[in-house]
């Protein structure tokens, strides 16, 4: 697809008997913030690790920055910035030392930009990583990821463990960087608020499969809560997500004739995410 920064098609990966990815298909466009939502253990980190070449998929196709790849090459990896879920740095290194170490692996490393980012992000360059707070370490991770000026930024639940203020600051920073540089950001998270504020489009992964992919307004137009005293039997095209939550094409919602007393409510992204999560869970348990 033209303008596609990330493309996964039917990607599968098993760890022993566990199907971490069970045919994941998604597409993130160049220059957008893609919010990748999923519960813990849904397959988000594995997806990002596949994209970083840390884990090899068992099957499926991957394209990155317009290149179809079987294995993520070193050259390609140099064009991807990555902020992991856990900021595991060498504890004895200062931010300055980490910068010098990481710089050796990136021909495009911009030392001036790294220094600027540390300053903007308020990361002291002379303190050892072990002495930094969780939030500052995350910011350090972001600075390290952005200093080589990559066209693609992968963020794997970077704000896990941060307080709400730090989380909001981080999200703003990411949004700002994306706007300024026009890069693609792929943000995985289980925190809906965090994603819906900055994501252009979202993908929801459930038990290794994609439940939904699209723009947030479209998603909100598709999924609604229907409260009725009587049992519902909607027209074809409607499907129950979980409980009172149904989904259908937006145009179907406008023409559907509901029984008297029925209440149709729009939902927040969080409610939709929870409904998908529960629906997936109930499906799993039914299976």
């Amino acid at each position: 697809m033209a303008g596609e920064a990330i493309g996964l098609s039917d990607v599968r990966r098993k760890f022993g008997r566990v199907r971490a990815l069970d045919g994941v298909t998604l597409s993130a466009r160049a220059g957008e913030v893609y919010g990748f939502l999923g519960r813990n253990g849904a397959g988000k980190t594995t997806t990002l690790r596949v994209l970083m070449g840390i884990v090899q998929p068992d099957a499926g196709e991957i394209s990155l920055l317009g290149e179809r790849v079987k294995k993520v090459s070193i050259e390609l990896k140099r064009r991807i910035g990555y902020v992991s879920q856990e900021q595991v740095f060498y504890p004895w290194m200062t931010a300055a030392q980490l910068g010098r170490f990481v710089a050796a692996f990136y021909p495009t490393w911009d030392g001036v930009e790294y220094a600027r980012l540390l300053k903007v992000l308020d990361v002291p360059d002379n303190r050892r990583a072990v002495e930094l707070s969780g939030g500052t370490r995350t910011k350090l991770g972001l600075a390290l990821a952005l200093a080589p000026r990559p066209p693609l930024l992968l963020l794997d639940e970077p704000t896990t463990g941060l307080d709400p203020v730090a989380r909001a600051e981080f999200s703003e920073l990411v949004a700002q960087m994306v706007r300024e540089r026009g890069i693609t950001a792929f943000l995985s998270s289980h925190l809906v608020d965090e994603v819906q504020d900055i994501a252009d489009r979202v993908g929801i992964i459930q038990a290794g499969r994609m439940s939904f992919e699209g723009e947030v307004p479209v998603l909100r137009a598709r999924v609604r809560r229907v409260r009725s005293a009587e049992p519902l039997a909607p027209s074809p095209g409607f499907s129950r997500v979980h409980g009172e939550i149904w989904q259908a094409a937006p145009e179907l919602w406008a023409v559907e004739l509901w029984p008297p007393g029925t209440e149709v409510q729009a939902l927040s992204l969080e409610d939709i995410f929870v409904a998908f999560a529960r629906g997936g869970a109930s499906q799993d348990s039914n299976a």
């Binding site: 840390i54 090899q56 070193i74 140099r78 595991v88 504890p91 692996f105």
Partner: protein, 617 residues
């Protein structure tokens, strides 16, 4: 190899590895000292490589691999644009280089130290280095593989050690038959040729296998195996491991038996099979093959005669009768009065090193000395019978050499001070005061006088009793003491001393003309300490133009100051007063033994003209 990663590793682990290396080099001094006492040129290096070399490889593997995975910083590396294989290769090569550099420095230090006292051909030294490096590479490859096994690494090490122990003890294998270990055999420790190519090939193949396994663990499954293994052991796993080790230890102790070590052998040597022992002399350019053969035969004759006369029994640790193997290694660069015995860890036998021009009676006597010492489980060295051992072996070694006997009697006659019971019964003090040449002559005279009084047969019965293998039960506590045995034989110590003294007086009168050719010499020894130069020893010598000052630091329990080292002294060779600084750091109140020896042409041996035990001020 990634230079950036290598720099990071050096920065992260350099200090720890450096400290580990410094401690190792300090320990190397101990290994070298012990190795010197055992007589092997590179015995210290061998011990170092097998213990601290391996330990340093283990430390390096823990730092380079285990720490990375256990600290999960491996995840940080995996995110960087560097191939996992390159990360592994960098770390592996760094560890290999570090381990090899460590033993190479140790080799250079040992070589430099040994070259101060003896000539070592570069080729021989390089053989030692190549074998040591191959051993170290294989050890590192194993350590790296074990490191990749994370929480199971010590299990693998324990399994390896138990396997080797079982192979040695239960399997009755010698270390020469165990791959990799056989690279550092006794012949390598003694710098006598290279290890066989097969040993190199085996070690190389195993190193490749270990390296391949480590690489597989690092790379297969996107490194998931190594990451999983790096997690801490669960309580259940710990209990299982502990139980396994205990069971393995129990099984080992149940099936093991003390192994019989093979006799020491070298290919390029002349051998003679005596009636009771195998004798070998190492080929050397200084001795023709006929000379070597003659020496072998002489020693074989001595050994057979002593074994038969004293009824010596040599037993292996398991109690089986073992034929003693005796091996002589002529070695350039050694003082002609020095004869050293090698300590063999892997073989049985008596291996002596001596200069090619060593006096033959002294060498033959030393062989017999060690033979009896071994057979008696070192009880022959007890002070209450030591004089008889020294005298008997010299008497046996010179029994067919009238000239040597004559010279020994002359040496005895040169003893200016009278002989009393204390001289004979406190033999270590006597040796310390007289030096080995005159002390041996006194011992010789004592045994000869005893032979004359008791007769050869009765003396043999007495010596058989004194030098036999001790009983290994409670009866050993009730054995009759040598003084009582001598008295029962009719020749108590005072009487023997009196007769020896009478012989000395008689000989001094008879050999007065020859003794007159020996100039009178006097020496006095003092010790001092200065804050800048440390402890120094001053020797005031009169009447001698060439002499040497010898010394040995005395430990708390040192009875016999051996081996003696030559002190570098300042002053002309014929100066009346020379000063030497002890080249070791000794604290105040340390005890030191010092002696002045003079090479005496008439007696053809070094004579001690002064000796003193000093307490440093």
């Amino acid at each position: 190899m990634s230079l950036a990663l290598a720099r990071k590793e050096l920065r992260e682990h350099g200090l720890v590895l450096l400290v580990s290396a410094l401690f190792s080099f300090v320990a190397l001094i101990g290994f070298v000292v012990i190795g010197e006492e055992s007589g092997g040129r590179f015995a210290g290096l061998k011990s170092f490589s097998m213990s601290l070399g391996v330990l340093n490889a283990l430390v390096a593997a823990n730092r380079l691999f285990v720490r990375e995975y256990a600290g999960r910083t491996q995840l940080f590396l995996e995110v960087l644009p560097i191939a996992r294989s390159r990360v592994f290769a960098t770390k592996w090569l760094l560890g290999a280089l570090w381990s090899c550099a460590l033993v190479t420095v140790a080799w250079a230090l040992v070589l430099r130290h040994q070259q101060k006292t003896e000539v070592i051909a570069l080729r021989d030294a390089l053989h030692v280095l190549s074998a040591t490096l191959m051993f170290t590479t294989a050890a590192w490859a194993f350590a790296a593989m074990a490191g990749m096994l994370g929480r199971h690494r010590y299990t693998v090490w324990i399994a390896l050690l138990i396997t080797i122990a079982i192979a040695l003890d239960a399997g009755n294998l010698s270390p020469d038959e165990i791959p990799v270990v056989n690279l550092l055999s006794d012949r390598v420790a003694m710098a006598r040729g290279s290890a066989p190519w097969a040993s190199f090939a085996w070690a190389g193949a195993l190193a490749l296998l270990f390296a391949g396994t480590a690489a597989a663990l690092a790379l297969i499954g996107s490194g998931a195996i190594a990451s999983t293994l790096s997690r801490r052991m669960t309580a259940r796993e710990r209990v299982f491991m502990l139980a396994s080790v205990l069971v393995a230890g129990f099984v080992y102790s149940a099936v093991t038996d003390q192994r019989q070590k093979p006799a020491f052998k070298v290919a390029d040597a002349t051998y003679v099979a005596g009636k009771h022992a195998q004798i070998g002399v190492m080929a050397t350019e200084d001795m023709a093959s006929e000379q070597l053969l003659a020496l072998c035969r002489l020693i074989a004759g001595d050994v057979d005669a002593v074994i038969e006369a004293l009824g010596l029994v040599h037993e292996a640790p398991d109690g089986a009768r073992a034929e003693p193997a005796i091996f002589v290694m002529p070695q350039q660069g050694l003082d002609r009065t020095v004869i050293e015995r090698a300590s063999l860890s892997d073989h049985n036998g008596i291996v002596l090193r001596a200069a090619p021009n060593v006096p033959q009676p002294a060498l033959r006597a030393e062989v017999l000395h060690e033979l009896i010492n071994d057979a008696s489980l070192h009880r022959a060295l007890r002070e209450d019978r030591h004089v008889l051992l020294d005298g008997y072996v010299l008497a046996m070694a010179t029994r067919d050499d009238a000239k040597a006997r004559e010279l020994t009697w002359l040496r005895f006659a040169s003893l200016a001070s009278p002989v009393d019971e204390a001289r004979l019964a406190r033999w270590e003090e006597t040796m310390e005061q007289l030096g080995s040449c005159i002390a041996d002559a006194l011992a010789f005279a004592t045994v000869e006088v005893a032979t004359e009084v008791l007769g050869r047969a009765r003396l043999q019965v007495l010596l058989r009793s004194l030098f036999r293998r001790p009983l290994d039960d409670v009866r050993v506590l009730f054995e009759e003491r040598p003084a009582a045995q001598l008295a029962r034989a009719g020749l108590p110590w005072p009487e023997l001393a009196r007769r020896v003294e009478a012989r000395r007086v008689e000989l001094r009168a008879r050999l007065a003309a020859q003794l007159a050719a020996i100039p009178a010499r006097k020496a006095r020894i003092e010790a001092s300490r200065s804050p800048t130069r440390g402890a120094s020893v001053q020797a005031h010598v009169e009447g001698a133009v060439a002499y040497r000052v010898m010394y040995a630091a005395l430990g708390a329990w040192t009875s016999l100051p051996q081996p003696l080292a030559r002190l570098d002294v300042r002053g002309a060779h014929d100066a009346k007063v020379v000063t030497g600084t002890v080249p070791i750091s000794l604290p105040k109140r340390s005890r030191l033994f010092a002696a002045v020896d003079v090479e005496e042409p008439v007696l053809q041996c070094p004579v001690r003209i002064a000796s003193k035990r000093l307490v440093l001020p």
